[in-house]
Symmetry: C2
Subunit: 315 residues, 2 copies
């Protein structure tokens, strides 16, 4: 049976660009990955980047519709798609798509980010909402599920009946990266190999009571190195464990403070790339079971949004 | 009455070099300040830096004894003076001085740092112990006093009967600086002016319950800027309030966890430079009164250590 391409799906973030050619069945027929994140596009000529990637597909299959998620839909991106508020699910995203016509004639639709404003301060996501939709696979059956999307700005996301009802951002990856690269903590570090024992020691120390919080505990990366209690080659892993452990404890405290929330039974990890294994280890120390979500959650989510907005023929 | 110079005192840290000519009465007869911190000395030729500063004094007054405190006595410095352990006071420092003869014939003594190892992880100070000794002014009368030395690596120090019995390091200043310079949080910041309202908002948010800890709260610097709830010109102050408020709450939690400790009645601020006013404001929000310690605490401390070690004639 024929399964022709019907959609171009763009997962376009700050540092990376991923384009997928999606067939009617939902199958990924082709894919392109480039470092053309929105910060790496000369003169913000997003049209050019899009056409270089999608041009050959369009030449072969005609001007397919395209959907785009991620920072490309931010104020710093190509076309701004304003945030929708929590609770937000597949239908909410599909209704808020922002259309645009590319120079090559393609019609594009930009997926909005999601914001939460039920707090002293707002929180935002852009791109992760589409991964969540993809990980849910269009289902709204699960009463409650907790997702974690590790990374530069880790997201913890609570989903109820198919809609994002709460989420929080933790600057784990970026704090780790800037401290390792630019602070005194990086000076004693040697190499980038993973050291499981040091990683676990960092996770444990993050939870130790009576020793203050992160601002104090961070300095242990210096002193444990200075007194050779953690080898120089293991200090990166130690700091990684310290910040990931801190993230998990902060997130669990947030969830515990939410009325009616219970400690999640299982965490679904999405878009983990190389961090997945570290999070499985770290979450297990806090008694949390884990499972991996859909591998191509963004592409799957984009296809579901396009279908919900009737941009592509029903399967 | 004649009050001749009797001592050269060096407060020599990572980024700055301060040399004092101390008279018999303890008066500062002359002083030199240069950016020749140990990281800025070509070929680690500390002898040259010392002689360029102290040479004219020596030519005029003869080969005075010299004492040096700070990172100059670390492994990365000129002569390593191993840490002494808590509890440590004036006599402990004076007994552990490490002597050295400079190329110009001067005898130098290096003041040790202080370490604390009664915990899962060690903590260290180097230079601050001398400032504390100077702030105490040689007195061991006060039963208990709490000192805060704000900065790149803020120190909270508990003194009992003239000796440092406990201290903790918080990476407040460095975390602020690297995040402002190298993370997404700096991108929306405009200018370096101080905004008291934003600073206070940051302090308050640091203490808000149910919103996680620092890794989560840091991201508010981004979102409050994004939604223009804090103006771009005030975001630096907001982040500054957030990290200083977090430091204070972590430190108070550490003190509360110490057996027999009570919440300090008054905090003595030492070596605050431009940060003093911010800490007075921030500490007041947590119900803590403040006073400023000795202005030239390092010079005063060095003079006291030299006297205790009988390097200079008694007054």
């Amino acid at each position: 049976m024929s399964d022709p391409p019907v959609l171009i799906a763009l997962d376009w973030g700050t540092t990376s660009f991923r384009a997928y050619l999606i067939a009617r069945s939902g199958r990924i027929a082709d894919r392109i990955e480039r470092p053309s994140g929105i910060l790496n596009v000369p003169d913000c000529d997003f049209d050019r980047v899009f056409n270089e990637a999608a041009g050959p597909w369009i030449a072969q299959h005609g001007a397919l519709p395209a959907v785009a998620a991620g920072m490309i839909g931010s104020r710093q991106g190509w076309v701004e798609a304003p945030y929708v508020s929590c609770p937000a699910g597949l239908e909410d995203l599909a209704h808020a798509l922002v259309p645009h016509t590319a120079r090559n004639g393609c019609r594009l639709w930009f997926v909005p980010g999601v914001m939460r404003n039920d707090d002293d301060v707002p929180d935002v996501m852009r791109g992760e909402e589409t991964q969540i939709v993809g990980a849910l696979g269009g289902s709204s059956a699960t009463a409650q599920a907790t997702f974690v999307l590790p990374g530069t700005h880790s997201k913890w996301v609570l989903v109820e009946n198919g809609r994002i009802v709460w989420f929080a951002t933790f600057m784990t990856g970026e704090v780790f990266a800037v401290l390792a690269a630019h602070s005194i903590l990086g000076r004693l570090m040697a190499g980038e190999s993973e050291d499981v024992a040091a990683f676990r020691r960092g996770i444990d120390y993050a939870a130790s009571a009576g020793h203050g919080g992160l601002l104090k505990k961070l300095f242990s990366t210096r002193t444990l190195g200075l007194f050779e209690q953690v080898p120089a080659t293991a200090l990166r892993s130690y700091l990684s464990g310290l910040v990931i452990g801190t993230e998990i404890d902060e997130a669990l405290a947030c969830l515990a403070a939410r009325a009616g929330s219970t400690k999640p039974a299982t965490i679904t990890l999405v878009g983990t790339q190389s961090l997945g294994k570290l999070y499985v280890t770290a979450l297990a120390t806090r008694g949390l079971a884990t499972q991996y979500g859909e591998a191509h959650a963004a592409a799957r989510g984009l296809a579901l949004v396009a279908a919900a907005a009737e941009l592509v023929p029903a399967r």
